[in-house]
């Protein structure tokens, strides 16, 4: 049985599956494996009016907002995890620079539950979280109701179906079956909630490698529309077993995004003028990327699927 291969370049995948106006899930694995290379291709291709979805996104959402790609953000936290606030978010929300952005504020748990409800195929999932908060008052996708099985007050978290989920993974085969390990965040529900999935992989491996551990195949190929081989694509965020987090890069972005003209220079240098990840990594410098390389490997004990 031969399925159609889904391997394509990042420009092809973004051009084919992420139109302007789309609702896009990014950063599903929290501070690890953030698909920066995909997000920056969205900027280069000039996408507009995107709805950005993700619990937290570290500085990727801030960049997309600063580049004017987003009209709406559905998230629990937008900023710079190790360095502080996101200045592009502040300029957009406080001054409409470069454009106004509507914020639909979730908590991490309610964002996870919104994607979980969609993955389960139900209109909502109940929770006690956000009761008494202004998130509940202001976010129309959170609604208080009374439990049908007892008298408890609960919040119904409405299901959320992104048009596209972009996941950065450690390894995948050409059909999109992928192994993810380490930080999972909301990746499993997010991918099943989304209408389409783009997988960005550090490594493309033989189908036999993925099939050797079906419990680690958290992304089944049948939900995947495109597979992009883009090593280093998650930098400056880490990929367990591949490279560490470039903390300085986050601090540098913090300093260089405080003022609008500095941010515009940063964007020109790190996104607009770099056609792809290879060029990006060259500009970053082999020495600097080498600093993030794995110093000590730590391999998982084998599981025997034999019989």
């Amino acid at each position: 049985m031969k399925l159609p291969a889904k391997l394509m370049t990042m420009p092809e995948a973004i051009a084919q599956y992420v139109p302007s106006g789309a609702m896009v899930l990014l950063g599903a694995q929290m501070e690890q494996m953030i698909p920066f290379s995909a997000g920056q291709e969205l900027i280069r291709q000039g996408r507009r009016d995107l709805t950005l979805v993700g619990p937290i996104s570290d500085i990727l959402f801030d960049q997309l907002i600063g580049a004017g790609c987003a009209s709406r953000v559905m998230a629990a936290w937008v900023g710079n995890v190790s360095a502080g606030v996101g200045y592009c978010l502040r300029r957009a929300t406080e001054q409409g620079i470069p454009r106004r952005v509507d914020m639909i504020d979730y908590s991490n748990f309610t964002m996870a539950l919104a994607l979980h409800a969609a993955a389960l195929g139900v209109p909502f999932v109940p929770t006690y979280s956000t009761l008494g908060s202004d998130l509940l008052k202001k976010n129309g996708n959170l609604r208080e109701f009374v439990s049908p099985v007892n008298e408890d007050k609960l919040v119904a978290v409405r299901s959320l179906r992104p048009d596209v989920a972009i996941l950065h993974v450690q390894r995948a085969d050409e059909f999109g079956n992928a192994h993810i390990w380490g930080s999972l965040g909301v990746a499993i529900d997010g991918m099943r909630a989304a209408r389409k999935v783009i997988v960005v992989a550090e490594e493309i491996v033989a189908p036999e490698v993925i099939a050797s551990d079906p419990n680690r195949t958290l992304v089944p190929g049948f939900v995947v529309a495109a597979v992009v081989h883009d090593p280093g694509g998650a930098h400056p965020s880490p990929v367990q077993g591949y490279y560490g987090r470039d903390h300085d890069f986050f601090s540098e972005y913090h300093a260089q995004s405080r003022e609008l003209h500095d941010f515009e220079r940063w964007l020109e240098k790190w996104v607009v003028r770099v056609p792809n990840r290879t060029a990006y990594l060259t500009q970053l410098g082999a020495d600097r990327f080498e600093q993030l390389a794995v110093r000590e490997h730590a391999y998982s004990a084998a599981a025997d699927f034999g019989y």
Partner: protein, 262 residues
């Protein structure tokens, strides 16, 4: 920066940040389930583990559960050293589920603003008429709603400790006594302590903040002058104990350059 820190250390033997981290670590009892927030709490958890609470269990909202402390300083909870050797790497939903089940004894939060009743704002801040966009809840609202106790870390400024917050990102005691239960929040939940750069505030049975201790060298008047409401003072007000040599050793072995403990 370094010189300012050095002068603090020369003057008292530790920095404000180190004092706050030590105070936060002491809020963790041995064997407790701890929901570890971003930033300073990541360090506080490791300090607790290495000193008085070796059996504490750390939960992180990215889906991680750890019983052995991270061997390296963490800038984010998903840094590779925090994943290797973890008890479990699962989904966010799974750790949040443990929180909602009521299994989490104490959760740590940061915020931009806090009010008299421990309600937190980290979404929309207002300063002299201007609106400021803040990063948002992250997991803070979930922890504030569902953890048995919550501990908040905050810089003590009049503009941050306010009579009323504009936006309740993470509910404390609302308007006071009985408010949380009326909202439908778990009976066993709510703020336990507010650790600031000047002292430690705790909460009375009516849900209002009370100054429980001032940090060494800080006068009660300084605290009151920097608080946005007429802050109650405990009869038995104490001085916040300085970090022990063990606590300082644990912190400094991880954060010698004071990334988190300025």
């Amino acid at each position: 920066m370094a010189t300012a820190l050095e002068s603090q250390i020369l003057a008292r033997g530790y920095t404000y940040g180190e004092l706050m981290v030590a105070a936060a670590a002491r809020e963790i009892a041995d064997g407790e389930f701890v929901f570890v927030g971003m930033r300073l709490p990541m360090l506080a958890f490791v300090v607790a583990k290495r000193t008085h609470a070796p059996a504490a269990i750390g939960l992180y909202e990215n889906g991680l559960i750890r019983e052995s402390p991270s061997p390296q300083l963490l800038y984010t909870m998903a840094d590779p050293p925090n994943l290797r050797g973890a008890t479990q790497c699962g989904q966010m939903l799974e750790v949040m589920a443990l929180l909602q089940q009521g299994r989490v004894n104490v959760g740590f939060l940061g915020a931009a603003e806090v009010d008299r009743f421990g309600n937190l704002n980290s979404t929309w801040g207002g300063r002299h008429g201007e609106i400021h966009r803040l990063p948002g809840s992250g997991g803070a609202c979930d922890i504030a709603c569902l953890a048995q106790r919550t501990v908040v870390l905050l810089a003590h400024e009049k503009s941050r400790l306010r009579e009323r917050v504009e936006f309740v990102t993470s509910p404390g005691f609302g308007r006071g006594n009985g408010w949380r239960v009326a909202q439908g929040l778990p009976p066993r939940s709510g703020p336990a302590a507010l650790i600031t750069t000047l002292g430690v505030l705790r909460y009375g049975s009516d849900g209002e903040a009370v100054l429980a201790s001032t940090h060494p060298g800080v006068a009660v008047e300084d605290v009151l002058a920097n608080t946005g409401w007429s802050l109650r003072v405990a009869d038995n007000i104490a001085e916040t104990p300085a970090p022990s040599s063990g606590e300082l050793a644990a912190m400094r072995s991880l954060d010698p350059n004071h990334f988190w403990t300025k």
